[in-house]
Amino acid sequence: MRMEHWLYKLPLRFRSLFSYKSVEQDLNDELQYHLERKIEENIAQGLTPEESRYAALRAMDSLAQRQEECRETRGVNGIENTIRDIRYSLRTLRKSPGFTTVAVLTLALGIGANAVVFGILNALVLRPVNIPRAESFYGVQQTSGWPYQSYPDYLDLRDRNRSFAGLAGYNITAAGLDTGNNPSRAWLYEVSGNYFDVLGIQPYLGRFIHASDEHGPNSAPYVVLTYAYWHAHFGDDRGAVGRVVKLNKHPFTIVGVAPKEFRGTLLFFSPDFFVPLVNEEQLEGVSYLNDRGKRQVFQVMGHLKAGITPAQALIDLNSIGSWLEKTYPKDVGQRAFTLGRTGLPGDIFAKPVREFVTALMLLAGLILLAACANLGSLFAARASDRGREVALRLALGASRNRILRALFTEAALISLIGGAVGLWGSVLLLRGLSVWQPMPRFPIHVPVTPDGNVYAIALALALVSGILFGLVPVRQVLRVDPYQIVKAGSTAKVGQRVSVRDVLLVVQIAICAVLVTSSMVAVRGLARSLNGNFGFEPRNAMLVETNLSMAGYAGDGVLAIQKRMRDAVAGVPGVKSAALVDNPPLVEGWNVAFVFTDQTTDLRPANSVATAVRYAVSPEYFDAASTTLLVGRAFSQHDDKNAPHVAVVNRLFASTIFGSSAKAIGAYYKMKDGARIQVVGIAEDGRYTTNIAEDPQPAMFLPMLQSPSIATWLVVRSDRDPRQLGEALRTTLRGVDSGLPVYVQTWIQGMDGALFGTRVATVSLGVLGIMGAMLSITGIFGMAAYSVSKRLKELGIRIAIGAQPKEVLQAALGRAVKLLLVGSTAGLILGVLASRVLAHIVYQATPRDPIVLTGVVLAMLFLGIVATWIPAQRALSLDPLALLREE
């Protein structure tokens, strides 16, 4: 539009908007003048003043509508009307607090659930790592989805690739940090020298570690603190830089502090500080820097060079992979790579998280759908209640447009309020999640602080769903015939008999029943899996983790201190048995080993028949862990360095490698170092690595005397109270070596990590189930309350002519109950079908469980009773006299 145009228009618009009263006055005056002249003219033509007035008004053809048309020409009418509509809607909403509360809560539940889940999705899947140019940053993983590489392989990848601007690697470990007199366990990344330079970040204080610091093993005794650790343990003292601290009794110099927002490159795991990987031996007691078979570098990652696509980089990496295979056939099996995200390293970690969050998102979507169905039926009920009001307004000259706009405003207001309440709740929940430490021993947290994305999505969802379903009754309003309704009075039925409302309610109840079913399936699954068979008995067992390298043990000293510790612990009163193991199953870590047949001479990984989980245990282990030996014998003290190598294998190992347990006993297999091992016993299968839902795997147990390990845990079986026993164990071990860091926990506590997935799944599904239940209560309640209030008069008459309570209830609630039954049945069937999917996440989740089925039926019944209770009471306590007088 041209400028000049606006010169005329703008002042008018402003005037209409800001001096509404005087503009209205002008309009009135103007029309009044016209009417007066018309009346005068009419009188002059001989009509009475009365008649003249009517004639003038008639000529105007509905004064109010003409005024409204004039207002509409102002163009700002929209804004004005909106303000009016909002005021009007607020007033009407205030007048029906029941409807408003239920509608707002319903929407808040739906929006809240979605905001929380989206917040998690956003933080864990969508948001890139917090470093510059994150879009070109990739992690190198094996095709199996595991992120690990060996250190020599890492060096070859780093130096031979032509696609990355630089490749950094790191490893996670714990060490005893002594800043003077307080040795404490701290978590750290062992990083390659180029780590910080590859990421492209700058230190907050001092300097970072650089590639130029690395001059071979143990050459770079430097520490870079994270901001959080510096803040908490050094009180923001800038003088901390330059100080010498002791890590596992070795002196290290603090050279710098990382910026506040940098908490390592993993989403969940924030270290306390960073130390060069070349100093691994000082930190872990062993060094794998030259071991190509030990995949110890947790993650290798870097920025792609400008102009290089991920596909080009992959070709480059895989050509290095085949070069490695050819050059080091003894150590290197298949080497093929893919690129992955770095926050959740490797598909093996990222995929379950992604799948789970996606599944949650779907369920949250269902919640929203149920909430919307609920809203739709609420609005429809309300609209038909207000049929008379709408009819009156139409009759008095309101345009249908205007009425629809009022409807729309109301829906928008409800969605905004509901959305705000839901978002507020979800922000609280997400904040709580962010500071939550699911496993107190580990610096693990779920960084899901909501950001702008979450707010925007929640607002959009609220508006779309609220308005979409708030407008369900539009058709109803458009078909209103004011004449019929005003004539027929308030009991007239507006809308058809089987209404949209009924359909919506059935849909909603069905969705809720699905949610209730799946949450029950999950909870039952968790309960069962806790009572399941792990191949060991975690109940009544304590674990003592020791760190011999922190205490400075090495070489033969290790075996001696291990024996002293075990004997001391076995002597503690109440201890039935005590044993040593390098890594207890389902706790922190595990080792795997290639298995070769006895006939194999070329022991390269490609020729192995299987990989098996490998444990080094003391003779008492099977007793202490309650692992049943099916055939053969356990170890004895005589299975030592000088005796022939022996092993106990699990049943799956026996059947995979030898065909059966019977063939396995007494048979031999080989390890990669060439050791020939005889199977002397077969143990039951168990669960070993990360997750209680893992697939069965072959496992071997080797005598610790023949396979020494510096990683040492004690398994202690006892019926004593864990807290008392824990104290006794600590005291006893202090007596053995006061400088030895020990950590005592029950085995169940140790399995926190392995149970984490199942627990999170169960809790989330449980919460969603409860939300579903709440939604079905509001839905049924709304329907039942509405149908009672709609039929008050009829019910009153029924009571007056002697209907029994049963009949009254049937008349009042029959329909609601019928809908509840249809919806629940449909939901139950769908839920059972959907639960098959759940079996993948929750171990031992099965919907074909009589307890689950009856549980769901009872739950829905209970929900129905709760929801219809108040309306039923209202129907029964009707006073027909009072009611009839009212009408």
Partner: protein, 111 residues
């Protein structure tokens, strides 16, 4: 918005602009003038006159001011703006073209 059924769509604007081009008038006077000049053929109902005037005012084609009317009462007088004059020329030209075309068609000889 209701329009007089016997007026071709959009011609009311043209009529109003033309009338106001002659002299500033108030609403009542405009309605009288319309009847007068068109010999009662173009009946514009009192009801549709004002929304139409307000529309023209909002478009910036006419402007309004309160003045004493012919019988010495306060009335709202409309007058053409510069934009309105331009609009009038345009609409007049359009109308001439349209009516010429229609006349041509209507006057075709039937066979």
């Amino acid at each position: 918005m209701s329009r007089p059924s016997d007026l071709v769509q959009g011609t009311l604007d043209l009529l109003l602009l033309k009338i106001l081009a002659l002299e500033p008038l108030n609403g009542w006077a405009i309605s009288q003038r319309l009847k007068q000049v068109s010999g009662d053929i173009l009946q514009v109902s009192d009801g549709s006159l004002y929304p139409a005037l307000h529309k023209l005012e909002q478009e910036g084609w006419i402007s309004a001011e309160w003045k004493a009317s012919e019988n010495n009462r306060r009335a709202k007088f409309y007058s053409l703006t510069r934009l309105g004059r331009r609009q009038l020329q345009k609409e007049t030209a359009d109308w001439t073209r349209l009516s010429d075309a229609i006349t041509q068609v209507v006057q075709l000889d039937e066979v």
